[in-house]
Symmetry: C2
Subunit: 327 residues, 2 copies
């Protein structure tokens, strides 16, 4: 028996909910009432929707696919975001294709032509920087994750960097630290600027933020500058875990105890840096998987004909460890 | 005008070459004679094969897709391998889907059912460990990359770990070092065992290899053990860059100069470790992109009906830096 494939958007329509809600209900995620969850499950059963794609894909001869377009060649940001996207889409049996543009506009154009030609159902655009980017020009539903579209009528899901940076400084203030310095990345990187502004808005720093690069080496060098210009500093808030690790290394070499003398906070909660640091870093978790999940839910709604507009900011979460709490 | 889609395997058949060779010719990679390259290009022109998929995909209503199935959730190994796979397949306008099994057998089974149902053209299987793995059971062409299939009639592409580890020790011997220790990862990891055996076969070590874990902390701890038991050691060969970075940190803390007193080698050439280390690490580059390219070429041949069998080992490449050469 051949019949048209049932899609999660059909289930959503019958249940009278958005595709994102239908996905959450079938995926057992999100905060839904039991009644909504049950209604979606009844709709899925009635339509013969099953999380096993075999029957559907074979009968329809069509592949449901969503692409994740990224400029992050290292996978440092795109892999956790992709995992979140997959969590949501696999409940609707959509496959996720990762396309790495290697930050090359020609390669991006070539991918977009190919994705449109292949008939993908939608695209999540992400990258390794948080600067707003020009929208991509495709006749498909698109959601931007981590870096917003410069067109405010597009749907973008971002990390609330300002709140994350403020949370780290608030934590230092609550621990009784009052002479705080800020060391961060390049002065032309939006993420460095936003975090520095949020830090300066939360407390009076011992001096202006030190902008440099996203590296351990810069963390070590800037530590020397801070100690020379503000010897009474009792905390250093850093714009990344790499910088914070360099700060901790330099302070240890100088015989200054972390956190007893000087507390240190990182940013990103990148395990390979935050946990290998001595001491392990108090950091700010960007919750990239959650970012991916929310982007996928917005994309499902857009595919179902209910596009969202504007910017959704998700909270980053402070993870306290020994670099502020001690052991 | 509608006509059947021209695929790279059609071009290969007309030119009388394998699909892998056709891909290399159209991709301008590999070592091919000018005559072969020209013959493939003539065949492509004759059949109307174009690297722009639009016409083909639209006229055929079908998506050509290859899946990369991985257990490496960090993307540390799978992202460079995927980049290599894409290099080759994009010349034939095949899309690459990344499927992260999160090392969960049930999730792997679910992915495989879904990929078969979706009609993917072939699968590259990879992971974060080098242990041979049971073959996947699908009616599709499959190539194993980095970890071999336990069925010798399957096609597997591996890094020649033994030669890589031997190259690092040979480099130390050529620099005049003769009292060499080896610090590496867990004794039940094939990559640790293979590297340690190759090191011990290349030189007489000051003592048995020290097996521990893949961490900087273990590198620091094992350094103390080596210095206590073999105070005259003049080089430490390490099974990973993380271990080597820990070794360098500990030696610096003890006031022992690297490399003047003790030379250190890493393994993996992972930039975030090898370049951030003080001093930067001489390491062994696994050439994962090349591994991906070769796996994709073998897969193209298998898709074209010419499967390969057995294990192909690719050389790893020594990258000398300050941790052995000095500055």
């Amino acid at each position: 028996m051949k019949r048209p494939a049932v899609r999660i958007t059909d289930v959503a329509a019958l249940a009278g909910v958005s595709a994102g809600t239908a996905s959450k209900a079938l995926n057992n995620t999100g905060q839904l009432s039991q009644e909504t969850r049950a209604r979606v499950q009844r709709a899925a059963a009635q339509l013969g929707f099953t999380p096993d794609a075999r029957g559907r894909a074979l009968s329809s001869g069509r592949t449901y696919t969503v692409a994740l377009l990224t400029t992050d060649s290292s996978g440092r940001f795109s892999i956790p975001i992709m995992r979140g996207v997959e969590d949501v889409l696999s409940a609707g049996e959509l496959a996720t294709v990762l396309c790495d543009t290697r930050d090359d506009p020609l390669r991006e154009q070539s991918y977009l032509r190919s994705l449109v030609a292949r008939g993908v159902d939608g695209i999540v655009v992400t990258g390794r920087r948080t600067e707003p980017r020009p929208p991509i020009d495709v006749p498909l539903p698109v959601v931007y994750a981590m870096a917003a579209s410069s067109d405010p009528s597009d749907a973008s899901v971002l990390v609330d960097d300002a709140a994350g940076a403020a949370a780290a400084v608030t934590h230092l203030l609550e621990l009784g630290r009052s002479r705080i310095a800020h060391i961060t990345g390049p002065a032309d990187h939006r993420s460095a600027i936003e975090r520095a502004q949020a830090v300066a808005a939360t407390t009076t720093l011992v001096g202006p933020p030190l902008f440099g690069e996203w590296s351990e080496q810069w963390g070590r060098q800037a530590t020397d500058v801070v100690l020379r210009t503000h010897p009474a500093v009792d905390a250093i808030s850093c714009g990344s875990d790499q910088i914070a690790r360099g700060v901790c290394d330099r302070l240890r070499e100088l015989g200054r105890d972390v956190p007893t003398e000087i507390a240190v906070t990182g940013y990103d909660d990148w395990p390979v840096m935050a946990l290998a640091s001595r001491p392990p870093l108090t950091s700010v978790d960007l919750r990239l998987e959650e970012l991916g999940r929310r982007a996928a839910q917005l994309l499902l709604d857009a595919i179902a004909g209910r596009p969202h507009h504007g910017v959704l900011e998700l909270p980053a979460v402070l993870i306290p460890r020994e670099s502020t709490l001690g052991s």
